[in-house]
Amino acid sequence: MAERIAIDGVDKVYPGGNRALKQVSLAVEPGTFLVLLGPSGSGKTTLLRCLAGIERVTGGSIAIGARVVAGDGVHLPPERRDLSMVFQDYALWPHMVARDNVAFALKRRGVSRAEGRATADAMLTRVGLGKLAERYPSELSGGEQQRVALARALVGDTGLVLCDEPLSNLDADLRERMRIEISSLVRQAGATAIYITHDQSEAFALADKVGVLEKGRLVQLGVPEEIYAAPASPFVARFTGLAGELAVRIRGGDRGDGTVEVEASTRSSVRPFRARVGHSGPTGARGELMIRPTAVRLCAADGDDHHLVGRVADVAFRGRGYEHAVELSCGTQLSNVFAERRVERGESVGLRLEMSGCLVFPGDGAATIGSVETAAGGRPADAPHVESTLAGALQASAVEEVGSWK
């Protein structure tokens, strides 16, 4: 019985004036795994806590299923919202063993003690902790504690599961394993899940949908591929993984397919190339180019198909190949540049840019649709987020190598 979540124009202002959420609106279909992505201070935790009922909203409304749980003078306390939550610090009660921690979540179902314990044991077995049911939290490792917390959240079969950065305290190797567990268990349970994180790779791996928050506003909402391929603003682009940014001159060549011809404003530029336009609206003479790591390839410095030249500043072995950090003459560094063979530090290389992974945004660095402040500093009364569609954004990335710079 997964629920549909409707968040409508939610504001949260803390006493003291801090506006943590600004007119956030989104809808989550039942059974969807939504990940809210953003840096610290972006309001994702606040939004989650408002959903949980631990915080009150200052404006707007939240509905879970058919019930309005917050807003319009209504505030349903957490225990009446029929949800469950996995906390960043696990929040296991230290004076209760693992089984009792999990069984507590069944109290609201009115099951008998024996039944509750049995169900809790079964859940713990599902998460792989069957033998540790009698342990106190302090006797469990971080990963084990997080699994107990997960079991607790799932055992009650609630329609909504909230996750507050549950993996951020775990070691790197454990994180990946736990991510898979969370993903599979939550989906098996069929609940709607809202998960917050600041790690974009985690978000992309888990999510059915990703919402990006910046300073209290929802700046983009869409499937991971859309967010990655067509970020709505430089902020979103930066936050979802860049090799680097370059200032470019826009030379026009707008063919109506969403691409333009640009040339890097640096002495390292060899020839111009085509890049996708990452925004709608008129394009000026200058722009910021956001370059995805997958869009940069190393090639020989003396070839004739590269767009930039640079010097290797660092090289890192990654098992399947090498990642290089290449420094351009203007000082800009492009990182995560992959090559199967190693290029030594200090060597000159050529860099070839793929159009699909290059996005150009207006020159003053401000995003257009979907950002908070317009260039003129005004605020739109109703700041909609960008719900980009895959079709429109990728249309222009047809594998059309532009040869206009020959």
């Binding site: 631990i54 225990e79 469950s84 610090d89 009660w93 230290p94 009650g156």
Partner: protein, 601 residues
């Protein structure tokens, strides 16, 4: 950190192999730092030495008399069990049983009332919480005989209530009986519970309650779920409430006596007060009191066994206060009001009014004659001044010792900390008169006089006695705050170049400054109004204020005595106000913010 010394900049901090200047203010700091460092090294043994001399020796000497009366010339036998046997029969046994159940109930009242108060003041935004939190210290600082006497003066047949026409027999019987005794002792235990729980609440992050609520617990259910995490604090509060109640003499001598409901401490005082006194019999009772402390400690050990309570982590989320609805606010304020009315308001009214009423007069004549006498009689100024000095010195020494002891108690439970815990609690359970008499036995030995050490009836011994009797409570009051100090604070300061002294000042002191000030004030006022030790140990010719007051209270100058008591109490409180005001003005803002949970409402 670059340090400028008279010789020019040096890069490494002193004491770490860098240049050490030999003169100038820097040198002094280095020396001080070395002293502080040395103190920390020898802190533990020093504390044990203090405990041994000042607490253990006198108590052991006194208690030894129960089986060995000949020891200090108090009997003819070198060994006898008759006194111990005699404790289990007759009125002594009755009074012991009374004390046991009264203290247990009082300790429970203390936590049952203190826990909600701590929660409301710490976790909600009830208005006036600062004032209420401060007033709790007032309840703690007040010696128990003042509220006791105040209640008595209020409800006794010729008391204030009767004089203003609303007296009734049931009121009198209610207060002047076991119920009144239990209520008063219970109210006295509340501040300990409040302090313990508040300190623990500081470290209890919000997420435990949040987790409970998101998984279906109501607000009250969440508190019930989370409360056991505060287990150690709660049990500590019960233990100290029990020990303080069972050793209390103020209520036993006034209210309980007038109610013909005897308590063990009163019997103990009687043994000593009869002439000739029977110290062995009193010592036997002392053994019973010390043994009784084992009860709460055992129950505590049972309750906490096998569980882990490690909740403090650096990532503990800041707690947000709950906004109370109007009804919630009214309820909370009402509850707080009732508590403070009973514990401060009523006794203050009774005490002050009986000092304002003319001594003998059948009408309600308010007269300041008593106060006039206090102020015109030149006798009180000297003792008051002396008491102030004694108070300041004692409080300063005790706070240092208490801090060291609290540090030991806050660490992991090894055998020696358990022993210290028991010793300190047992010391609380023994009435002050036992301490005082024990001091005479321990330090007035002929052997000492023969080698020229005559410290009995000197101010030195009096102050040592004050320190020893204040140390246990002081230590327990500080445990909560000290346990919150993370060693990493100190380490970080040192890693960034502070010397030992600087590291302590920068890393540790800010967190504990407020609790230290409060503990200092607690000891100060306790000494100021302390009686048994003052009576038995003061240096002839230099009486403290409390002795002077008692002499008047004991005979026909009752009204004057009460007026003196009120004046002394006011002076003590004025001193408290001065110290707190000074702290507020002088301490850096940051200090007052952290560690505020301990003292602030």
């Amino acid at each position: 950190m670059t340090i400028l010394s008279p010789r020019g900049p040096t890069v490494s901090p002193p004491g770490r192999g860098g240049e050490i200047p030999v003169s100038g203010p820097r040198a002094e700091r280095v020396v001080l730092g070395r002293v502080v460092g040395a103190t920390r090294l020898v802190g533990q043994p020093l504390l044990w030495l203090l405990v041994g001399f000042a607490i253990l020796a006198p108590c052991v000497c006194f208690l030894a008399l129960a089986v060995c009366p000949r020891l200090f010339g108090q009997g003819s036998q070198w060994f006898t069990l008759s006194y111990l046997k005699g404790m289990f029969s007759g009125s002594v046994a009755v009074s012991m049983v009374n004390s046991l159940w009264v203290s247990s109930v009082a300790a429970l009242i203390g936590i049952v009332v203190g826990f909600p108060i701590a929660w409301v003041l710490r976790r909600t935004n009830v208005p006036g919480r600062r004032v209420f939190g401060g007033a709790m210290w007032f309840v703690l600082l007040l010696p128990s005989w003042i509220p006791s006497l105040g209640w008595e003066r209020l409800v006794q047949p010729d008391g204030v209530l009767y004089r203003i026409g609303i007296g009734a027999a049931w009121e009198t019987h209610l207060v002047m009986g076991p119920f009144g005794v239990v209520m008063l002792l219970g109210l006295r235990s509340v501040p300990f519970a409040y302090l313990a729980v508040t300190a623990a609440l500081n470290g209890l992050g919000q997420e435990f309650e949040d987790a409970a609520r998101t998984h279906g617990a109501t607000r009250l259910g969440a508190i019930r779920l989370v409360a056991p995490i505060l287990g150690p604090a709660i049990w500590s509060a019960i233990a100290i409430g029990f020990a303080e109640s069972i050793s209390d003499f103020g209520v036993a001598a006034t209210l309980a006596y007038s109610s013909h409901f005897t308590l063990a401490t009163y019997q103990l005082y009687q043994s000593i007060g009869n002439f000739p006194p029977s110290f062995p019999a009193a010592a036997a009772m002392g053994w019973l009191l010390v043994a009784s402390v084992a009860i709460p400690l055992t129950v505590q050990a049972r309750a906490l066994r096998g569980r882990s309570y490690a909740v403090l982590s650096g990532r503990t989320r800041q707690v947000q206060r709950k906004d109370l609805t109007r009804r919630g606010s009214a309820l909370a304020l009402g509850g707080l009001g009732v508590f403070y009315l009973f514990s401060i308001g009523v006794p203050a009214f009774g005490a002050v009014s009986s000092s304002l009423l003319a001594d003998f007069g059948s009408s309600l004549k308010i007269s300041f004659a008593n106060y006039r006498q206090v102020f015109t009689s030149s006798g009180l100024a000297g003792p008051l001044e002396r008491s102030l000095v004694y108070g300041i010195v004692t409080a300063s020494i005790t706070v240092v010792g208490g801090f060291l002891a609290a540090r030991m108690l806050a660490k992991r439970r090894s055998a020696s900390t358990k022993l210290l815990d028991f010793l300190l609690l047992a010391a609380v359970a023994l009435p002050s008169v036992v301490f005082a008499a024990g001091y005479i036995f321990a330090f007035n030995l002929p052997a000492l006089s023969r080698i020229g050490i005559n410290i009995y009836q000197t101010t030195t011994l009096l102050v040592v006695g004050y320190v020893a009797s204040s140390l246990p409570t002081n230590a327990r009051v500080l445990v909560g705050a000290v346990s919150q100090v993370q060693s990493s604070l100190h380490d970080a300061a040192r890693a960034h170049g502070s010397g030992a002294l600087g590291a302590w000042f920068r890393g540790v002191l800010p967190v504990v400054s407020r609790p230290l000030v409060m503990a200092w004030l607690l000891t100060f006022t306790g000494v100021f109004l302390e009686l048994p030790i003052s009576q038995l140990l003061y240096a002839p010719g230099s009486p403290p204020a409390s002795v002077d007051i008692q002499t008047n209270l004991g005979n026909y100058h009752f009204g004057v005595g009460m007026a003196q008591a009120v004046v002394a109490a006011f002076i003590a409180l004025a001193a408290v106000g001065v110290v707190l005001g000074g702290y507020r003005l002088l301490a850096p803002t940051g200090w007052r913010r952290i560690g505020g949970g301990m003292a602030r409402g």
